[in-house]
């Protein structure tokens, strides 16, 4: 059985729906990695079902919410970026790839800003659109990243 078919079965199972993640006993990191793999496999197919894509997008959004909440809450007491990057939720958010970038940019646009977002954007995009004099200033970094997003094709 192809992995995405297995994934579809899991999606259809109530135990794997986002709202049931905590009761399923699965760690959000594993769910995030599974979701990323599922989408990669599914995108390789030519006949993508819109309903499935929509469902996966919703799962992505839910996973981002859970993982980002976990990251922000559980690393709030940490100034060290290297220590923050060791948190499992950081690695899981990286594994979600562009979905994490899009979700972070959406949050920056609505003012829901956390300092961890900027490290994730740097790691995921490889870009550095923040002017050197603006580094460390959360509001200025937000502006520079949103300007970068507006210039993206």
């Amino acid at each position: 059985m192809l992995s995405y078919e297995l994934a579809e079965q899991k999606v259809a199972s109530p135990a794997y729906l986002p709202g049931a993640i905590s009761s399923s006993g699965l760690h959000p990191v594993h769910i995030g990695q599974w979701t990323a793999n599922t989408v990669r496999n599914r995108q390789a197919e030519t006949n993508v079902q819109p309903e499935f894509v929509g469902l996966v997008r919703q799962i992505y959004a839910d996973m981002f919410d859970q993982l980002s909440n976990s990251l922000v809450t559980e690393t709030r007491h940490i100034s060290s970026t290297s220590a923050m990057k060791q948190h499992p939720a950081f690695q899981a958010l990286v594994s979600l790839g562009d979905a994490t970038v899009s979700a972070i940019l959406a949050r920056l646009r609505t003012g829901r800003i956390h300092v961890q977002w900027f490290t994730l954007l740097r790691v995921l995009t490889g870009e550095d659109p923040v002017a050197p004099v603006n580094r460390g200033y959360v509001d200025r970094m937000t502006r520079d990243w949103l300007d970068w997003a507006a210039r993206r094709p």
């Binding site: 100034s79 300092v115 490290t119 002017a131 959360v138």
Partner: protein
């Protein structure tokens, strides 16, 4: 606070709401509008000619440029402001600034600011904890915040426009 088993109701006082605008190192230097940290992603403010590494000598070099000198211990010395540097697994994890009455001021990551009675109440904490205070630096109190070294190159000057009078 479960993250800091040494903190008890009697030995610390919250002094601010949580904010992402500055780090514990910023707060140790009286900065409350910019994150200062030697992160390798170059997200935060740091002198351009110093490595972006969390090792103790590198951070002490930075504090030296801000007017601090190494001192032997945490005891209160009249006329001096001290910074204690917490290290875990050879990486700096936290900075606390000594107040004039001997207590300490800390920003807990991107959480709240607190004033605490002593340094051990923040030490330990497991793999995501602060480790232990292992180095101390001091400067003379002068009623002013320390003068920081340039954290990034200044913006380039505007292009020179030569107007010819003809």
């Amino acid at each position: 606070m479960a993250l800091f088993p040494g903190l008890t109701a009697g030995n610390y006082t919250p002094t601010s709401a949580a904010t992402d605008s500055y780090s514990c190192l910023s707060w140790a230097l009286h900065v409350d509008d910019r994150v200062i940290w030697p992160d390798e992603e170059r997200v935060h403010g740091w002198p351009p000619d110093l490595p972006r590494t969390e090792d103790l000598p590198n951070v002490m070099e930075f504090l030296g440029r801000a007017g601090f000198e190494q001192c032997p211990g945490e005891e209160l010395e009249a006329g001096f402001e001290k910074i204690a540097i917490y290290v875990d697994n050879a990486a700096v994890r936290h900075f606390a600034r000594q107040l004039a009455d001997g207590r300490w001021a800390s920003k807990l990551g991107y959480g709240i600011d607190i004033e605490h009675q002593n340094l051990p109440c923040l030490q330990g904490g497991g793999h995501s904890g602060y480790g232990f205070p292992v180095a101390y630096m001091r400067r003379r109190r002068n009623g002013m915040p320390p003068v920081l070294p340039p954290l990034e190159p200044p913006p380039p000057p505007p292009p020179l426009i030569i107007m010819s009078a003809c």
